[in-house]
Symmetry: C2
Subunit: 339 residues, 2 copies
DNA sequence: ATGAAAGCGCTAACAC
DNA sequence: GTGTTAGCGCTTTCAT
């Protein structure tokens, strides 16, 4: 470690100044072809690797993206991260990852500081909007020294956002149930302090309304995304809505519990009760019966986020600030036996 | 950005030299109490944050861990990452994350270089051993300038490894089936070029052998971890082993397909066929019927990895190299209705 | 207890 | 084309 090879070692060995080596490293045109050859040969022979840290310091940029996430143990966030990692690698950016201890973490200042301090060129806030976890945005974002992009949150002025169109996905799901002949479509929501849950619930309501469903009081119950909560919510819902003939469940994890309980109660699916989930997890096709679901492409979400943040970084460097935009990805309905 | 506040700004404002500010930052004892107060006040007032990059450069350490992973879109790797993130945060380390394009990525030199170049203090190789993806280890690890720890791979001399005891977990699962009265226990394996798959298969075989199971040719079929492959493998296995009365499936994703197909064929579970999975995913309790499974605590795996690598980093700094060790975590059998 | 000088490894600005 | 001189923002000697 003492003998870490530096640009000076290469310069000495090649008999040039370190400036020339630097030029070679950065592919500058103004180096004699044979000098370049010699330097490259020495670099190769010595196994020299330029220090990214020193570079970050002088260039004031690191080719590193700060990623803030939460709930990695769930499948959604890690799918998104997968897409982010993929695109970042492609565009030559490294990833500095921070996971919030909870979705509702309030104290984000130290997180931001830690990223800024490490010279990230941009930040992707990949935490779903829930409760008050966006309260900081108004004050803080303004004076951030680097661009930031938000995933999965409601549109807000002056912010760049990428999200899935949950409203439209939920509406599709519900319309599908109605087309299948369901007249009484219940809904199991996610936690209602989550933006996504509210959007999905609104989509379900909108579809019922448009279809002019007679039942003047549609019924729903609230879960918290977990299978366990889905089971409880479904029991509740069945009690208040015994003649329900279809149910739109806000995620696949909760939907799997619905299937289990339906079996326990000898409800036939889809004859007695049609079920549609949301997310499109890979296992859904192998539930019993195979689950109809609204599939969202979270990897694509992550990829787009990287693409956007990089273009924000580039344009800020060129002093032409880019207009904030909101991008909405369309989910897709996958029909299977459960409906 | 021009006016990023530096240590010099603080020094000037406080009327001291930057060394004194540096001392305050690093909690050195040799600063007059009132000078310290004054400096701290200025730091606060100016909102100064020391540059982690500049620090990394001079101290030759970054308090950053390089994490290499693969298959983030699957639940296992992200659970592990969750544990890593949790413990790293606790110990004050940031995470530089790289995801390999595939489990079998051969060309790891650029990955390692990229991490070293960014001054990571240590590396956690969180990619499961599969195929030839450990071939590089022999040559490369020796001359790495930083400590490295491997997750989920076979023991190897001179390497520090943390893994789950797959053999023992599989054996437990199989013994459980035998105790339940199964005489003909089949197995659906993961891809057999994976170390974990081979270990689980070996555990299953060992249990059958110990139980003195009459059937001289136990039967198995190979899957690739996905639900889809599990379905195909189960069909194959049923054909060659029609009187099978129990099946140990190498992961829960494939087990869910086994349940589906069993229902399609009107096999009663567990009466006609008892099923045990592996992994302990949260949804398993809500399959139909609820799935017995071997639960592995991957978050704990991640946490331990961080703890170990940090202690390797610390001891290397103190010039006392630590002995490589292998740590095996015991999984846990969770019995439910499917057996 | 505090400051001056040197240096971490590199790039930018300006010579020549 | 290539070298020299300054930094980037911090820590580390070594003085005082």
């Amino acid at each position: 470690m003492k003998n870490r090879i530096t640009i000076v070692d290469v310069a000495d060995e090649a008999g040039v100044s370190k400036q020339t080596v630097s030029r070679v490293l950065n592919n500058r045109p103004d180096v004699a072809i044979e000098t370049r050859q010699r330097v490259l040969e020495v670099i190769e022979r010595l196994g020299y690797k330029p220090s990214a840290v020193a570079r970050s310091l002088t260039r004031q940029r690191s080719f590193t993206l700060g990623i803030v996430t939460a709930g990695l143990k769930y499948i959604g966030p890690s799918q998104t991260l997968n897409g982010i990692a993929d695109k970042a690698e492609e565009l030559g950016y490294a990833l500095l990852l921070t996971e919030l201890p909870s979705f509702e973490t309030k104290d984000i200042q130290p997180i931001i500081d830690s990223l800024i301090t490490r010279q990230v060129d941009g930040i992707i806030w990949a935490v779903q909007e829930a409760g008050e976890n966006r309260a900081w945005v108004e004050d803080q974002v303004i004076n951030l020294p680097v661009p930031i992009i938000f995933l999965t949150m409601a549109e807000r002025e002056n912010l760049t956002i990428v999200a899935v169109d949950n409203f439209s996905g939920a509406k599709m799901a519900t319309q599908h149930l109605i087309e299948r002949g369901c007249r009484k479509v219940g809904h199991i929501t996610g936690p209602l302090d989550w933006w996504e849950s509210r959007q999905r619930k609104a989509g379900w309501e909108a579809a019922l309304k448009e279809a002019g469903c007679k039942n003047s009081y549609p019924h729903w119950a609230e879960g918290n995304w977990s299978s366990r909560s889905g089971a409880a919510a479904f029991e509740t819902l069945l009690n208040k809505y015994p003649d329900m003939d279809g149910v739109f469940v806000a995620n696949d994890q909760m939907a799997v519990s619905v299937l289990q309980i339906a079996h326990q109660r000898n409800l036939r699916i889809p004859q007695d009760l049609a079920v549609v989930g949301f997310d499109g997890i890979a296992e859904a096709a192998y539930f019993w019966p195979a689950l109809t679901t609204v599939s969202q492409n979270l990897q694509e979400l992550g990829r787009i986020a990287v693409k956007e943040i990089v273009s924000m970084i580039d344009s800020r460097r060129e002093e032409r600030e880019i207009e904030p935009i909101s991008i909405l990805l369309q989910p897709e309905l996958i029909v299977r036996q459960s409906s």
